[in-house]
Symmetry: C2
Subunit: 190 residues, 2 copies
Amino acid sequence: MKKSLGVGTFALPSPVWVVGTYDAAGKPNLMTAAWGGICNSRPPSIYVSLRKATYSHGNIMARRAYTVSIPSEKYVREADWIGIATGRELDKFATAKLTSVKGSAVDAPYVDEFPVVLECRVKEVFELGLHTQFVGEIMDVKADENVLNAKGAIDIEKVKPIIFTASSGTYHGVGKKLQDAFTTREMKKG
Amino acid sequence: MKKSLGVGTFALPSPVWVVGTYDAAGKPNLMTAAWGGICNSRPPSIYVSLRKATYSHGNIMARRAYTVSIPSEKYVREADWIGIATGRELDKFATAKLTSVKGSAVDAPYVDEFPVVLECRVKEVFELGLHTQFVGEIMDVKADENVLNAKGAIDIEKVKPIIFTASSGTYHGVGKKLQDAFTTREMKKG
C-alpha cells in the first residue's frame, strides 16, 4: 500500500543544467535549471522551464537562443550558487570564475569549464503557469575530448553530471553502470 | 577547445520512467520513456514525450490520463524490456510479472512494485515533430513508506532510480550525495 504525498514536483532524477544567455547589453548571464529534459528526437529538441521573474527569461525572449552547459560534480557549489544569485545585480561568470564562450551555432554563451554543452534555438514558447517552457532545437552539441569514450560518444562516468532531487533538496553524483540499454529482448519465464 | 559532435539528443542525465495507461478495452499497458521531466511548479506539472507510433500514445489521447512509475535499479531489466516490447501484442504487466493498480486520482494504472508513482491528468498536447509532448498536471504522488526519509520526503538513495544516457546507450545508478541544494550563498573570493 503506497502512501499519498499529495501534489508536488516529486519526480526523480532531475538534471542540474546551467542555462547561458546574453542580456540586452551583451552581458553573458547564467542560471541553473532542474526543470529540463529532451522532448523530441526529430528535430532533436530540449527544453528548460523558467519563471518569468528570472533575468534569463527576458534574455531568451529577446534573443530566442540559449545554451545548456552541463556541470561536472566538482562544480556543484558553482551550480548551486548560480541558481540562487541574480544576473541583474552581478556578472555571474566573473564572480564564479567561469569562462564565457560565445556559441558557434546560436547567439548565446556557454561555460567553457563544463564538459558538455548544447546550443539551442528557441522553437516554441509554452506558458504553463508559473513557468514558461522554452523548447529549443539543438543546433550543436559540444564536449571536451576527455569525456568521450572509445567510440567518440559522451561517457556519463567521465562527465559526472549532477542529479537534483526536489523532494529532499539534495544533489547526488552518478553511480555504477547497471547495463546497456535496449538489450533485454525477453523476460524470463518464471 | 571543445569538440563539436553535431546534432543529437545528447543531454544527460535522462530519467527512466514507466508510463501507465489503459487501452480502449481497459487492458493496462506500460512503456518506458526517457524523454520526460518536470516542466512547471504551479500547477505542478510533468511531461512525457512519446512517438505517435506507440500504443500508449493512442491510449493517452483517448483517456487524457497517464501515470509515471519510477523503477528502482533492481528493475532495470523490466524497464528496458518494457521499452522494447509493444502492448499491442501482449500484456506487459503479466509478462514482466508486475502488478497493475488503478490510480486513485486519474484513469490510468501504475506499477505497484515501483517505489514512486505520479498520477497525471493531461493538460496540454504539443506536437513537436517525431514526438508528442504530453504535459500532465500532477494530481497525486504516491510512494512506498520505506523510501521516505525522517521528514517524510522521498529519499533518492532509497528509491535508487535509473539514469539513462542517450549518447552511449547505458543505464546507471545514483551515486553519493554531493551537498544540500540552495545552500551556497556566496562564492569565495579568489
